[in-house]
């Protein structure tokens, strides 16, 4: 826990304070990380979001049909995706795909003395390794969430258009009318907070690996489990603040 807080402070130092002391972070590594932990996750995000959109629409149609309220299917799909399932599910995908990869990569670097070598070359590992990943995920997770929301809404449309009595224009109008901008923004805030949690927990797990290949495995598991739990609990807290406050 002490290590984790130190890492957070250190990341904040390198992002907020260091640029004013002439040590600006480099852009190139951030883009590389954005591609590897963000862009490459897009196909998985798309598939997940589409399935969820379709499932949501089918379940909504089933329940609402009994009350004769099928016209509210787009509302339900839209709100559920924007507020909850979009940010949460895409964070789950990113934890499984990128959080574990980051923990394993940094953990392997730790056990093969690479981190120590960086320190001895007077290169700060937090600045060199953690900051690019942190900024990359802080940008890419909200971006992936917006992308996933679109695809999920597309999934809902597919059900409404081909299985229910909606036309495309009707679906779009109902969906857009049901949500206001705060629904989108709250989801974005959530995913930015999730990005912070995921990347700091994963990097911390990787940087504190001890004891060879076995330690790397344990750190990867710990990164995934801790990120998931922290993310889900934070989601509940944020929902209560945003919508029950």
């Amino acid at each position: 826990m002490k290590n984790y807080l130190q890492l957070n402070l250190s990341v904040l130092y390198w992002i907020v304070v260091a640029p004013f002391r002439g040590q600006f972070f480099k852009i190139g590594p951030i883009f590389r990380q954005m591609v590897s932990i963000g862009v490459r996750a897009a196909p998985m995000v798309a598939l997940t979001a589409f399935s969820i959109g379709v499932t949501l629409a089918m379940q909504a149609a089933n329940s609402l049909r009994s009350m004769g309220a099928e016209m509210y299917v787009p509302d339900l799909v839209m709100l559920t995706l924007l507020r909850e399932l979009g940010p949460v599910l895409i964070a789950v995908i990113v934890i499984g795909r990128s959080g574990s990869a980051v923990a394993a990569e940094l953990g392997t670097m730790k056990v093969s003395e690479e981190i120590e070598a960086l320190e001895v070359m007077a290169i700060n590992p937090v600045q060199y390794l953690v900051v690019p990943r942190f900024i990359a995920l802080l940008i890419m997770l909200p971006a992936l969430t917006i992308f996933g929301n679109y695809i999920g809404i597309l999934g809902g449309w597919a059900v409404c258009r081909f299985a229910l009595d909606f036309n495309t224009a009707g679906y779009i109008i109902r969906a857009v009318e049901s949500a206001d901008t705060w629904d989108l923004y709250s989801g974005m805030i959530k995913s930015a907070v999730f990005a912070w949690i995921i990347i700091t927990i994963s990097c911390n797990a990787g940087l504190n690996v001890e004891g060879g290949a076995e330690g790397v495995g344990q750190a990867t598991t710990a990164a995934v489990v801790q990120s998931l739990l922290a993310m889900l609990v934070t989601n509940a807290v944020l929902t209560s603040i945003f919508f029950f406050g």
Partner: protein
Amino acid sequence: MNPTGETIIEVNNLVRRFGNRAVLDGISFNVHRGETLVIMGGSGCGKSTLLRHMIGSMKPTSGSVKLFGEEITEMKERELESVRLRFGMLFQSGALLASLTVGENVSLPLFQHTDKSADEIEQIVKKKLEIVGLTGFEDLKPDEISGGMKKRVGLSRALALNPELLFSDEPTSGLDPIMTAVVDQLTLNLTKGSHMTAVVVSHDMTSAFRIATRMIMLGQGSIVAEGTPDEIRNSSNPEVQQFIHGRADGPIPLNVSQEEHKDLQHVRPRPFLGGRFRFHHKHP
């Protein structure tokens, strides 16, 4: 060589304990500019631990380490960085960053710590790789080259910023005899020609006697013998004689008992094959 120049490294009564076991138990020595100090000793005698204290990646239980006259044991990470820019370190495994190419590894300190242009850096990288006999290897990844080559890349990376002081952990293990001679000659050229100071941890006696101006032998956490290569070679200490001649029989204890060794303390004998055999092994 007698100490002539300024003192580069001052280690004073350095103690490091792991649990109850003192891995380093009151070590003191000085290294002067232009010297090549070889630290030798059996496996587990604390050589690497000593080296890690000298580069500031481990903090001692007590005692002091001064590099270039500055006390490093109480420095914060950020203060340590300015000292670290003045020395290079060659790790036993090379410790190259696996995600970067050979060329990028060597250029890393140059990109991070100098304002040189990409072209200048490319020229320096070429030159640094050339002196360790690896011309044209810039674009390979570390996993595409052999262990000995990795070590040579590690050496050229350590030399990238033209350090005043070079630490090497087993620089010649895993190298063929010719390459060993090349690396030794390189160390000699740098210390004689450019007045670089070198601290080398080594098992390789041929290479040690070739490059050393002074030698230290560690045993069980303290200095067993210290002197010029000639003094070491003619030492009357039986431990030194056993070590430099590589004899199996002698006064140096072969094993560390389990109680003494902290890392093994949590391993308890466990019944194996229904308790008929007892294996002292972590992974059955």
